[in-house]
Amino acid sequence: MSRYVLKLYVTGQTPKSQAAIVNLRRICQEQLAGEHELIIIDVLEQPQLAEDDKILATPTLVKQLPLPSRRTIGDLSDKEKVLLGLDLRAWDPQSMGVER
């Protein structure tokens, strides 16, 4: 079983959604080295899943496992913030967006 379970909610083929998918796949490749499961959900096709997870924005990345669950919205263009959302960086609000 994968250590990381990630869900990415997107809206169809919009540029933001496509960018988020590309950015996330790259980061996962680099940082998680296959130790993850990535589920991509198109809210237009499966709105009920978005309802169940109470998703408002797209793209939304939900790190479901390991706990605690965390959410990141946007096209995931800032790698450091993605790592923060995946708990691969120390959780410190001061460090948001700061290069290390």
């Binding site: 809206t11 109470k54 263009s77």
Partner: protein, 512 residues
């Protein structure tokens, strides 16, 4: 192209709030979105829920409730007290929530541009799944608080408004205002749902809360303007007091009815007219309740249905006093011809008193109503609200064509005006004044008919006596003047003769 269709009024959808349908001439424009804006605690959520509840209960329409502030659980619980079992409607497939409220742990890190595509997809999904024709979104401000980029949220909400229009649903969106009399809404949301705007207010005026609702605009269709007071009642929700919205059109009656006192009837040339509003004004102890007792007692004894609202005395006191005047109100009550409602003026706001009277009139269907005293309600609300209340009440009573009698206690023993009189006197068809008059070290009581629409009346100020059979109107006061103004003054026989003599004016003119 069909020309008729162009000029045709927009179709409207009843809201489930009777008074709002009245002021908006039929409800909210069908297939459009209406912005409901108000300060905290102004009743926006209740209106949003009631809009859907009205659709479910009155029109068999289904509704989607998009909640962005309270959780569905909270709304289900809160609305149960207003008589709406949302859970049951959900089970029956008539109601669905889209839950956009905040939960701990769902705060998101913002990383690059985003939209609210998931939110829109969820709303569309719920509408389609349920076959809903009504949507309530409560409230837009709460969505802004969940995201840092207000520009994106505004653009996305616009997209949602457009989508709702495309779906053909009639929607209500609530939003916050920071001031009762200021910008329509925060975050500039009125820019994208500006077709129809309803404002709700909860104003603190002279230590009294005054809730009002105003239809600001309904694009392409008419509505009544101005603020309408409302109250929130258990099992009913928002109830708007449709004060002057009651049509004043009615036929004047030429049928005379008794005042309950033969001598007073004689002073009025044969009694009041059936649709009269009578104001009885006097200081405390001058005999107002006595006149009311005759007014309802005599009529009820002949089989008329009479409703008495007492704000000054309790039930026992009323019955005891009436017994002292030879009127057995208890018997009339038991016979079902008389209903007495005793209430403390402070027990409720004016809106509730109005609705209580309205409900009683509609249910009991009296031919007469008496309110003793109306002035007791003066201090329950602000002067403005009180005036609206009186106008609303008199119009309502006239609308039903029943005879109404209001009493008003003057603030000073010897006369003077109260706010009640100031507001009622122009509406009242007949005014009866009761005044104290001091004569030779003795306090006497006098009665005068000041006004009697559509009829002549006795212009004398007559002395009244009260005994075990009630009130007796006697001879006019003689040798005294200034009773009405509260400054009685004795005058000699000689002065009276001079004043009434035709040569007086000439004599005065000749005097150097």
């Amino acid at each position: 192209m069909n020309r008729d269709k162009e000029t045709c009024e927009l179709e409207k959808l009843p809201t489930g709030i009777k008074g709002l349908d009245l002021t908006s001439y039929g409800g909210l424009p069908k297939g459009r979105t209406t912005l409901v804006s108000g300060t905290v605690g102004s009743g926006k959520t209740i209106l949003a829920v009631q809009f859907l509840a009205g659709g479910i209960k009155d029109a068999g329409e289904r509704g989607v409730f998009v909640t962005c502030e309270e959780t569905p659980t909270d709304i289900r619980t809160n609305m149960l007290s207003l008589g709406w079992d949302i859970q049951q409607w959900e089970d029956e497939g008539k109601w669905a929530f889209v839950d956009a409220s905040r939960y701990p742990g769902t705060e998101a890190i913002e990383n690059g541009p985003y939209d609210l595509g998931a939110f829109l997809a969820r709303i569309e999904h719920a509408v389609a799944k349920l076959g809903a024709t009504r949507v309530s979104v409560d409230s837009l401000g709460a969505i802004f608080s969940q995201f840092s980029d207000a520009g994106t949220v505004r653009r996305e909400l616009f997209r949602i408004a457009v989508a709702l229009k495309r779906l053909g649903v009639t929607a209500v969106m609530t939003t916050e205002r920071t001031e009762e009399y200021g910008d329509i809404a925060r975050h500039g949301v009125e820019e994208f749902v500006a077709d129809n705007v309803v404002l709700m207010r909860n104003v603190l005026d002279q230590e009294k809360r005054r809730r009002t609702i105003e239809v600001l605009k309904l694009r392409g269709t008419g509505h009544q303007s101005g603020e309408w007071p409302f109250t929130v009642l258990p099992a009913k929700g928002i109830v708007i007091v449709p004060l002057s919205a009651i049509e004043a059109t009615r036929k004047s009656s030429t049928v005379r009815v008794t005042s309950g006192n033969a001598e007073l009837d004689a002073m009025c040339s044969g009694g009041f007219f059936r649709d009269f509003i009578i104001l009885v004004s006097g200081a405390t102890g001058t005999g107002k309740t006595l006149i009311v007792t005759h007014f309802v007692g005599t009529a009820a004894a002949t089989g008329e249905r009479c409703l008495l609202y007492a704000f000054e005395e309790n039930h026992e006191q009323l019955l005891r006093n009436a017994n002292g005047w030879g009127v057995d109100l208890e018997k009339l009550e038991k016979a079902g011809n008389l209903r007495i409602v005793c209430a403390y003026p402070e027990s409720a706001g004016l809106e509730r008193h109005f609705l209580s009277i309205r409900d009683a009139v509609e249910e009991f269907k009296p031919t007469r109503i008496a309110v003793d005293s109306l002035s007791a309600l003066e201090h329950v609300a602000t002067d403005k609200s009180f005036r609206e209340f009186i106008v609303g009440l008199t119009l309502f009573i006239k609308h039903h064509g029943i005879t109404g009698m209001f009493t008003s206690t003057t603030p000073m023993l010897m006369g003077g005006m109260s706010a009640t009189e100031a507001h009622v006197s122009t509406i009242a068809d007949s005014i009866i004044l009761l005044r104290y008059a001091e004569m030779f070290g003795e306090v006497r009581r006098g009665l005068a008919v000041l006004k009697m629409r559509g009829s002549t009346h006795d212009k004398n100020i007559r002395e009244i006596q009260v005994d075990g059979m009630g009130m007796h109107i006697g001879r006019p006061f003689q040798g005294i003047t200034g009773i009405l103004s509260g400054r009685p003054r004795h005058i000699s026989r000689d002065q009276i003769d001079r004043a009434s003599s035709p040569s007086t004016q000439e004599e005065l003119a000749r005097t150097p």
